[in-house]
C-alpha cells in the first residue's frame, strides 16, 4: 500500500513537470480547440508552417546565433586563461578570487540589469549588439569559469614540468598539452553559455531596446494576447532547442566520464 502511494506521488510530480509542456505542444498543433474539450477538434501543421515563412523568425534565429557565438568566444577569451591561472594558484587569495568571479550567479539578474542598463546609458552602449553581448556574458561567465576551473584542476601540474623539460615554451605547451585535456570542459562551457544566452529575455529586451530580436523575444507580442497557437508553436520550438542543447551537454558529460 505504501509503495503505491509512493509511486503515485512521484508520478504526479513528473506529470506536473510535463503538464505545461504537453499542453502547449497540443495547442501548437491545434486549429480548433474549444472549451471544454481535452483534445483539439482540428489538428494542423499550419502554425509551424507560418513560422518558418516569417522573416522575423529567420532574423531572430540569425541574431540568436550570432550573439550566442560572440558571447561564447568572448567568454573563452576571458575564462580560459583565468580558470587555468586560478587552478594553478597556491595563494590564500584563491577562494576570494573564485568568489568574485562567480558572484554573478547568485546576485539576482534584475539588480544587475537595472544598473547595467543605467551604466550603458552613460556609455551609450544601449540598442547595440555589443551591449547585448556583454549583458549575456555577465550571467554566463561564472558557469563557464566553474566548468573550466574544475577541468584544469584535474590536469596534473607536473605536465607543465614535463613539456618544459622537453624544451617546449610555456605557451606552446599549454595549447598542445594542457588545453586538449580539458576539451570536454570547453565544449560543455560553450553549450552552457549558449543555453544561458538563449534564455535571456529581460536583458535583451532592455539593453537591446526592442531593436534586437532573438528567439526568446519572439514570444513578447504573445504575452499580452495575440494568437496563442503561434505563441505556443514558438515556445515548443524554443524548448526543443533547449532540450537538444541539454541532451548534447549530457552526452558529452557522460562521454567524458566514461573515458576517465
Amino acid at each position: 500500500m505504501k509503495k503505491i502511494i509512493k509511486y503515485i506521488f512521484i508520478s504526479s510530480f513528473i506529470v506536473y513537470i510535463i503538464f505545461p509542456i504537453i499542453t502547449n505542444l497540443i495547442l501548437s498543433f491545434s486549429n480548433v480547440w474549444q472549451w471544454p474539450n481535452i483534445w483539439p477538434e482540428e489538428i494542423t501543421l499550419k502554425h509551424y508552417n507560418n513560422i518558418f515563412n516569417q522573416r522575423n523568425f529567420l532574423k531572430a534565429i540569425l541574431n540568436t546565433t550570432t550573439i550566442g557565438i560572440m558571447v561564447i568566444l568572448l567568454n573563452y577569451i576571458l575564462v580560459i586563461p583565468s580558470a587555468y591561472g586560478v587552478s594553478r594558484l597556491k595563494s590564500k587569495y584563491k577562494a576570494i578570487i573564485i568568489t568574485i568571479i562567480i558572484l554573478p550567479i547568485i546576485v539576482p539578474p534584475i539588480l544587475v540589469l537595472l544598473n547595467l542598463y543605467n551604466h550603458f546609458l552613460v556609455w551609450d552602449l544601449t540598442d547595440h549588439y555589443i551591449g547585448v553581448v556583454i549583458a549575456h556574458m555577465i550571467p554566463s561567465l561564472p558557469y563557464m569559469f566553474i566548468l573550466l576551473y574544475l577541468g584544469f584542476e584535474k590536469v596534473d601540474p607536473n605536465y607543465e614540468s614535463i613539456f618544459l623539460s622537453l624544451g617546449i615554451n610555456p605557451m606552446k605547451g599549454f595549447f598542445t598539452v594542457i588545453l586538449p585535456q580539458v576539451k570536454e570542459a570547453i565544449i560543455l562551457g560553450g553549450i552552457m553559455t549558449f543555453l544561458i544566452s538563449i534564455s535571456q529575455y529581460l536583458s535583451t529586451l532592455l539593453i537591446g531596446g526592442g531593436k534586437i530580436l532573438t528567439m526568446t523575444l519572439l514570444l513578447t507580442p504573445y504575452i499580452q494576447g495575440g494568437n496563442a497557437r503561434i505563441g505556443a508553436a514558438y515556445g515548443i520550438l524554443l524548448i526543443l532547442l533547449c532540450t537538444f542543447l541539454i541532451y548534447l551537454y549530457e552526452r558529452i558529460l557522460l562521454g567524458g566520464k566514461k573515458n576517465a
Binding site: N158, S161, F163, S165, L166, G167, I168, K172, T176, P180
Partner: protein, 330 residues
Amino acid sequence: MLEMHQLNYSINDFNLRIENFEVKNNNIHSLLGNSGAGKSTLLNLIAGHLYPSKGDILLNSKSILHLKPNKRKIALIFQNSLLFPHMNVYENIGYALKAKKKSQMEIQNKVTLWLKRMNLMGYGKRMPHELSGGEKKRVAIARALITDPKLILMDEPLNGLDPKLRDEMINLIKTIQKETSIAILYITHDFEEALKISDTISVIKDGKIIHSGIPKELLFNPVDLSIIDFFTYYNKKKVTISNHKFNLYNNVIHSNKDGDFCCILPPQGILLSFGNSGVIIEKHYLKYGNIYLINHGEETLYAFSHEHFEKNDCVDFKIQSEFIRYKKEK
C-alpha cells in the same frame, strides 16, 4: 656533467644547503633521502622551477641559473609517467621533435629508433590508457631521451612497480645509459634500488648532503652514522658494557668503552661459515656479494658474504669487533 656550488634555498622552516654536488657524465648518480629531506626541492632547483638565494648550478661547466626551465636541456621522468593522454605512443615520443618543427623524416627515424631501443616495436598507434605501467614508463623515457638532453632527472620513477618489473626497468635504464653516455640523477628513497642501479650514491638529510660515494662505501663505510636509519641491513643493538666487556649475539666482545651504548655492526662485520648457531632465513643479492638474514635464537642479524649460502642453511658466525661502531645511548 652537473655541478652545484654553495647552493642555498629557504622556504618556511626548511633550509637547503649544498656545498658541493656533482653528477658526472656517463654515470648514474642516486640521491637517497626520506620524505622532507629536500629531494623535491633539489629537483625543482635543478629543473629551474625554483631559484636559489645563493650559489650556482652548472651544466657542462656553464651556469644554467639564468636559463628558463625549457632552455636547460634537462629531461624529467616522474613516478607518474604522465604520458599525454590525447596522443598515441608515436606522437608522445615524437612530441618534442614535432613541436620544434623537425622534418617528418627525422621524426620518423628517431621515433622508430627509440621504439626499438625501448622494446616498443609495434606500439606506435596505441593510446596511453591501453598500456601497462611498465610500457608507459618506457614511453616516458623514450619521450625524454629523444631530445638528447644533457642530464636526466628521475624522480622515484620505479615506485609502485612490482619487483620483477622493477629489476627489468633497472636493467633497461642502465643499458640506455651505457649507450648514450648520459648523466642521470636518480632520486629515490629505496636504498636497495639505489644499490642496484647506481654508480655513485649521495644521501640527503634535512637539506644537506651527508654522504657521497660508491655504493660499496655507503654500505660498508658510511661517513655519517645517521645514514643507517636508511638501511635495514645494519645491525643495531643496545648493550651495556661493563668491565670493558659485553655480549653480542653470544660472542664476547672486548671494548675500551664502558656504559650504555647503541652498538652498530655493519653486515660485513660478521664472518659466516657452515655450522649450527643460526639459520639463514633470507637472502638478498647484491652486485658484490650477498646479504643474509640469520635467525639466532630470538634475534636476527644481517651478515655479508662473498660465499653462496641458501635459505635454511645452518651457519656459524664470528663477529669482527673492529667493524663495530658505538653511539652513545641517551
